[in-house]
Symmetry: C2
Subunit: 251 residues, 2 copies
Amino acid sequence: MATTKTRNSQRTPCEQCPLRKLEHFRNFTPEELEFVSNFKTGELAVDAGATILVEGSHSAHLFTVLSGWGFRYKMLDDGRRQILNYMMPGDLIGLQGSLMGEMQHSIEALSPVTLCVFERDKLGGIFRNHADLAYDLTWIAAREERILDENLLSIGRRSALERAAYLLAFLYQRAKALQLFDGQRVSIPITQQHVADTLGLSIVHTNKTLKKLGERKMIRWADKGCDILDDKGLMQLAGWDGYKEKKRPFI
Amino acid sequence: MATTKTRNSQRTPCEQCPLRKLEHFRNFTPEELEFVSNFKTGELAVDAGATILVEGSHSAHLFTVLSGWGFRYKMLDDGRRQILNYMMPGDLIGLQGSLMGEMQHSIEALSPVTLCVFERDKLGGIFRNHADLAYDLTWIAAREERILDENLLSIGRRSALERAAYLLAFLYQRAKALQLFDGQRVSIPITQQHVADTLGLSIVHTNKTLKKLGERKMIRWADKGCDILDDKGLMQLAGWDGYKEKKRPFI
DNA sequence: CGATCCGTTGACCTGCGTCAACATATGTGG
DNA sequence: CCACATATGTTGACGCAGGTCAACGGATCG
């Protein structure tokens, strides 16, 4: 498995950050932009399959995803794995570890990923000098909490078919907001093993469940990825309304 | 079901807050104490079974639990319920709703509960004038996230017996840190229905699972509550190490 | 060209759900 | 004071959603 990490000097100046052009994110004031630009110490390119952060470690950095997909997960001693959430452009990772010391989960890249690198030690400066950004940080943590709440509801109380529908609708909504189109459709770069480990199901049953969604023309499983054909149908099946976020902050 | 809420003028001055005497919480500087004292606008007493916050509402307040137990949950349209986490003294509730607008979960009291009331509109003042408290807010949100991560792992990948063991060990650890002893043992004021809705199981299976833990002398189910007899055994069974929090902030 | 990863399918098994009945406590209105 | 209702816990019989095992096909890659 590829695990190369490449450290570069800063390549994309924050002023030209491609994410800021998206409707989805809130605008920054020039001062904020300058501060963040200063906060950013570099960029990191990571191969698909590489581990970005490991449970049990104490990282000196936190990151914002600039491009690519990843996921957060925890494991039990005997190898059972639970995927907690997915990371997409604009997502901040490692905040939990930065605030509380040791990482309690791992993060892995699903595709090639580019990361903006921040120093954990400079986090305090945000709270001391940039109330708005500090507020954003808390907002970002609350957003993650909200997503986990919905995931818990899903795994605890939805059937396999409903769970799968929820997951795919959820990923679709996020990808769409970021305009991650692949031609006309939104394509999600995960394997059925990832779906299984997210939903708390076995691979075999996951396969059969996804096939049912395929028969209903809601999705199409392409090689190593999934196309969403009918997001409304998925949402209805799961009994999920979607998030109504207008603009989102990001660091 | 009782749903009385009683609003009082401030009774417990923050300077004499009983929670601050606990080893478990970090100390405040006098300035912080004064600010929080000012931030607090009153107290609320709530009966067991009362709903404190409702999914879909926009609350103008957030609260810190001063005494008593409660829980956070979400429901599906057809009535299926998932308990997300439990609230105990020192826990901040309603932050998610305050930051993001609409509440996406409900909160209910398990026992009579006393709450410190804060105005949502004054939250901004914390970020603008009290960097340390703002940091604490983010820390508190990250802590909730960490707990949800572990819950997800539990529901997604642990067996019924392991899940139950984890839940009870988890509640025990928290209760113990707050010195919520009932004589010698820690007693947890929940019904088996709550356990079922937390673990994503049916009541019948929950009953049989708890019975097994009882046969192993790890717990004893008293009327409407649970005594923990062997927390180490529960943790080992669940494959859970516990949280190693030393001191915790609270607002 | 074997090795590895990923998806697919069928046969069979089991952990947990559902249904149903019953026990005990507590409360409530008459 | 009784009659009844509701909340909680307990237990057994039975069914099914989802797990496990096993085999196979296609794609990709050193």
